[in-house]
Amino acid sequence: MANRILVNFAHPRFESSVTNRVMVSAIKDIEGITFNDLYEEYPDFLIDIKKEQKLLLEHDVVIFQHPFYWYSVPALLKEWQDVVLESGFAYGEGGFQLKGKYWLNAMTVGGTDDSYSKRGYNGYPFDQFLKPFEQTAVFCGMKFFQPFVVYDAIRISKEATIDAAENYRKLIIDLQNHLNLRTGKIR
């Protein structure tokens, strides 16, 4: 049986997005995945906690697709983490209900690959900025995949964007059909 994939998408300015727009249109129609457009769902930031938790429980892999904003996630996705991953559900007594599920960030990043280094203007290797996500996943007993990243998201060519979106689509289909949930390996 195919793995169940949830894409929690967060982009506060989707109307002027370039990269994420192409990516979304590449994956949206994949059969069997759940695409959850958070900014469209909760324009007033009033997240339906129960509904979001239910969605999580019904899926095996949770993808957070978002542009990289100030070395982190857009505000609504942070709000989502703060209220949905609550004690008694994601951790704490009666919690850890997401144990064994997979966490994957799919991000578009303004800076180039090179800029994320000690010498680059972003100061640190990109991995460093992933720590909060990784630790959040680990804390909740989830398994953390290396993120899918599109660097230089503002300047790359049209072709490169389409390539990236194509790769993103392939990744999701692989996760859906070839991921061994027990080992975390793609066959």
Binding site: R13, S17, G110, T112, Y124, I154
Partner: protein, 631 residues
């Protein structure tokens, strides 16, 4: 009528109206009284500017009443009318029955034959549609409980005229030859007449449903305004003629036609087109009523006529009051209702002349009663002023100590004054968060309604200090003023500021103007009732037009934020018209600019790239701090 004297008469009538009405209005007496007094003055008994043919003019002017009912009908869709069937049949029916019965008995006590007494009773049971509706409309009471009830009663009376006209000849003490060309149907058999009556009603309904619409479509397409108006007039006059022919009240027929057309898209055009005619004719009608008051008779027989007038009014008030009480009308509404309808009606003049033809009543009787009815009509505006200015405030006080609910809510932090649609939402939100609210409401029907849903609201007028105290205003944290009446809101605000300085006042306002005024009166927070919902709708509209929801949300929030801010700044200028308009226009432009720039800025953010090029420009200028863990 030769033109010269016609123009002269028109001149006299218009002068009387133009002088009389504004003066009466200035004095707070209402236009009806203005017309009536003007009529008395130009009538044959004072200046004699119009002669005794005033009655002909009156019959012509009665057409104004027909038009008025047509226009009233236009505002009443069949559904609404159906909902009024209870008050029409119950309140109206019983009113005619009881009042008629009482006057019959009284007339018999005055040595009238039972036939004559019954005729008098029937005629006096009627009230004046023209005066009542005009006065209530002018006071803005047509949409209230009392207005609607009054209208129901008047409507029933109009229906009752049919059997009355049929009964009149039967009451004739001596069989008289009736030759009546006006009422073509009097020659017909009873069953034929019934058939004709039903037929004509069906005719009107079918006419309105199927024929008038296409005709108006056609006429409207010509684009000729005066032809449209002419068609409207034609319609009403045509109906009047048909009704007269079958012996129905033309007013009733016109009313029916109005109801049938209430859902037509030409409704407003009809209202606009016929409105001025109606007003002019009604005015003319009132003047002729004034002019026909026989002052000679009044002089000769002052005492008995005055006591008859008073008797008529008092008995009518009592019957109306008791009936309304029986139908559970709140006291204040009842005081308006029972005083509004306490007069004889214009139809009495018709019925009297009809009765005279039939020999049911003597000539002297009729001229006396005509004066009595006319005087009672003239007194109506004054009576209503009496009720409004003297009785209502009086009972308002009394009612508090007697009828207002005992408030047993204990200590509650929040008082909600006005538990209508608005107050309910506020109160439910507060209660859902665990705050107790004390609910005050002035409309007994509303209280009963919410009680059915298990909510307890207390009856009382919030503008009364004692009631506020009883509701716990001294200890409460806040009063939510959700009454829909600005004047009340202002009164309560001032009362609370003066007597309960600690109490926070959160008020609802209809619009900007009201908001300013309540704010100026000292409310702490004023929310315009339509703003929130309008913005919600606007937000949904933006989404439908292709906006992302978050963007639409931001636009609406931004609008709300700036609008509130400007509102606050403009409150200072409110009262200074010129300054205010200037500033308000400026603010409106500013708001628009803000909303536009929000969108532009956001588009630009995207263009300002997060890339090496733009970074390096900055790096050249500023020496960026190295991170502390740099080795």
């Amino acid at each position: 009528m030769d033109t010269e004297s016609f123009l002269f008469k028109a001149f006299i009538f218009l002068v009387a109206a133009v002088i009389g009405v504004p003066i009466a209005k200035r004095l707070g007496l209402g236009s009806v009284l203005g017309y009536l007094i003007a009529g008395v003055l130009i009538g044959p008994f004072v200046f004699g500017l119009v002669g005794r043919d005033v009655e002909d003019i009156m019959h012509f002017a009665e057409f104004g009443v027909v038009m008025m009912l047509f226009l009233v009908g236009l505002e009443l869709e069949p559904k609404k009318l159906w909902r009024m069937r209870m008050p029409i049949l119950g309140l109206g029916g019983l009113q005619v029955l009881f009042t008629g019965f009482l006057f019959t008995i009284i007339a018999m006590l005055f040595d009238q034959t039972w036939q004559a007494a019954l005729a008098i009773g029937m005629v006096l049971a009627l009230s004046s549609t023209a005066i009542v509706l005009q006065t209530l409309t002018e006071k803005g009471l047509m949409k209230t409980d009392s207005g609607r009830s009054s209208f129901s009663v008047l409507l029933f009376q109009d229906i009752a005229i049919i059997p009355m006209l049929a009964l009149m000849p039967l009451l004739a003490s001596a069989p008289v030859e009736i030759i009546n060309d006006d009422h073509g149907l009097t020659q017909l058999q009873g069953w034929q007449q019934t058939l004709a009556v039903v037929g004509s009603i069906v005719f009107i309904i079918l006419l309105g449903r199927f024929l008038i619409q296409p005709i108006f479509n056609l006429i409207a397409r010509t684009g000729l305004k005066e032809i449209f108006i002419a068609t409207s007039l034609l319609l009403v006059i045509g109906i009047t003629l048909v009704m007269q022919w079958v012996g129905l009240s033309p007013a009733l027929g016109a009313f029916l036609a109005g109801v049938v057309l209430a859902e037509s898209e030409y409704r407003h055009e009809l209202e606009v087109g016929l409105g001025p005619f109606k007003s002019l004719l009604l005015g003319l009608f009132f003047i002729t009523v004034g002019a026909s008051i026989n002052l000679d008779l009044l002089m000769q027989d002052t005492a008995s006529i005055i006591s008859l007038v008073l008797g008529l009014i008092i008995i009518k008030v009592i019957v109306l009051f008791l009936l309304a009480k029986f139908f559970k009308m709140p006291l204040m509404e009842n005081l308006i209702f029972s005083f509004a309808l306490a007069q004889g009606g214009e139809f009495a003049f018709v019925l009297f002349s009809f009765a005279a033809q039939n020999g049911v009543l003597t000539e002297h009787m009729i001229s006396t009663l005509t004066v009595v009815v006319a005087l009672s009509m003239a007194l109506t505006p004054l009576l209503m002023i009496l009720s409004e200015k003297v009785l209502q405030p009086l009972f308002d006080r009394q009612e508090l100590s007697r009828d207002y609910d005992e408030i047993d809510d204990g200590e509650t932090p929040v008082i909600v004054a006005g538990y209508g649609r608005f107050g309910q939402i506020v109160s439910r939100l507060l209660r859902s968060q665990g705050f107790q609210t004390t609910l005050l409401e002035y409309d007994a029907v509303q209280i009963d309604l919410v009680r059915k849903f298990g909510t307890k609201a207390f009856y009382g007028d919030v503008t009364n200090l004692d009631l506020l105290k009883a509701a716990g205003a001294e200890n409460a944290k806040m009063i939510v003023l959700s009454v829909d009446n600005v004047d009340k809101a202002i009164i309560v605000t001032e009362l609370c500021r003066k007597n309960f300085p600690e109490l926070k006042i959160f008020a609802r306002a209809k619009g900007r103007r009201e908001a300013y005024e309540i704010k100026k009166a000292g409310a702490h927070c004023v929310i315009r009732e339509t703003l929130g919902s309008a913005l919600l709708l606007g937000r949904e509209a933006l989404v439908e037009l292709g906006y992302r929801k978050y963007q639409a949300q931001r636009a609406a929030q931004t609008f709300l934020h700036y609008d509130n801010m400007h509102m606050e700044e403009l409150t200072e200028l409110w009262g200074d018209e010129k300054q205010y308009i200037l500033a308000a226009t400026e603010k409106a432009e500013l708001l628009e600019a803000v909303l536009k720039s929000d969108i532009q800025d956001r588009a630009q953010i995207q263009n300002q790239s997060w890339d090496t090029d733009s970074r390096s420009q900055i790096n050249d200028n500023i020496d960026i701090k190295q991170s502390p863990n740099e080795d």
